[in-house]
């Protein structure tokens, strides 16, 4: 009681107009709210205890599942691309390996002369056609460049 008087006197000194206000609240609650609330809490606790206690990953999962899913997707995508690229090398490698025993077989079992006889159209040494073309195109380009940029008279003098 003394405490209440003390608080009221304190308010009288501090805020005389406020101290005249009734300490009523403008808020209301639904009918029988406080009668039913304890039951609501009991039910919630009973439900909480019926459900097995959440494990750490169950708590962690919803929060970070999007991040984890994104990381998995990235790893799978990168892995797929990596395998795709290296896979083409493997195919070539496999072909080489597979063809190697055949080549050995040919070398071991078929006579060289027979081979030459059965493939007369093959030249003894096959030069790379691409290389020639490349060189020739380079040469052509160099010639064109010289013709265009260097005066004919200068060329004659130099020669």
């Amino acid at each position: 009681m003394d405490q209440n008087n003390h608080i009221n006197n304190e308010l009288d000194d501090l805020a005389p107009n406020l101290s005249k206000f009734k300490k009523d609240m403008p808020y209301t609650v639904p009918d029988a709210y406080f009668d039913t609330f304890p039951m609501k809490i009991r039910e919630r606790i009973a439900h909480m205890e019926a459900v097995p206690e959440s494990r750490w990953y169950a708590l962690w999962l919803p929060k970070y599942s999007y991040v984890a899913a994104s990381i998995c997707f990235l790893i799978i995508t990168i892995g797929f691309l990596f395998l795709k690229n290296s896979g083409s090398h493997n195919i070539t490698g496999t072909l080489v390996v597979k063809s190697a025993p055949n080549a050995d077989y040919v070398i071991e079992h078929i006579d060289e002369e027979l081979l030459i006889e059965t493939s007369p159209s093959l030249p003894a040494k096959t030069p790379s056609k691409n290389k020639i073309n490349l060189n020739s195109s380079k040469k052509t380009y160099a010639e064109e460049y010289l013709v265009e940029t260097i005066d004919e008279s200068t060329l004659t003098e130099e020669l």
Partner: protein, 180 residues
């Protein structure tokens, strides 16, 4: 039944539910109004009150009687309300003033609100106070809580609480006088 008896009975497995029920019935209204004044909306206050009692259920067995039980209950409730308001600010990236404006708007438009104009204006004036000052004012003005108890609830010195209450009361006085 005293708080000590309730705690004793709560620690006994056979009487735990009964003791908890007693405790809820004893303090539910006080805690509800504390929360309601802070968050204005009935549904929010109801959610927070449920959360408070869940925490009490989970931790009461470990309660050390270093402070009074009701101080502990108030402390849980204040923290729950503050974290609710904090989440609201973070969720909508709102500055503090906007949350208070939203709460003030709820006084005009919300459900379960009825009262004369003066009472509504007083509530709106209280909402203009900074968060901590508002809690101090409410605990002192409505709950008539001694500063020493309030110090334990808010973990703040008695001197700071007195200064905070004085500032708050003077601000409210100015606001309600201006409105008249």
């Amino acid at each position: 039944m005293s708080d000590e008896e309730i705690i004793q009975q709560f620690r006994n497995q056979d009487t735990q539910s009964y003791a908890f029920n007693m405790l809820v019935r004893k303090y539910q209204q006080k805690l509800y109004w504390l929360l309601r004044r802070m968050v204005v909306d009935h549904d929010d206050a109801d959610d927070l009150l449920q959360n408070v009692w869940i925490k009490v259920w989970q931790n009461l067995a470990n309660f050390k009687a270093e402070s009074q039980l009701y101080t502990w209950l108030y402390r849980i409730s204040v923290n729950e309300a503050l974290s609710h308001l904090d989440k609201k600010k973070k969720r909508f990236f709102l500055p503090l003033g906007d949350v208070e404006a939203e709460l003030s708007n709820k006084i005009d438009t919300g459900n379960q609100i009825s009262g004369n104009d003066l009472l509504l204006r007083l509530q709106k004036a209280i909402l203009t106070l900074p968060e901590k000052q508002r809690i101090v004012f409410q605990l002192r003005y409505y709950e008539e809580m001694p500063y020493e108890e309030m110090s334990k609830v808010l973990d703040t010195s008695v001197g700071a609480l007195k200064a905070s209450y004085h500032h708050a009361a003077k601000k409210i006085e100015v606001l309600i006088t201006r409105l008249d």
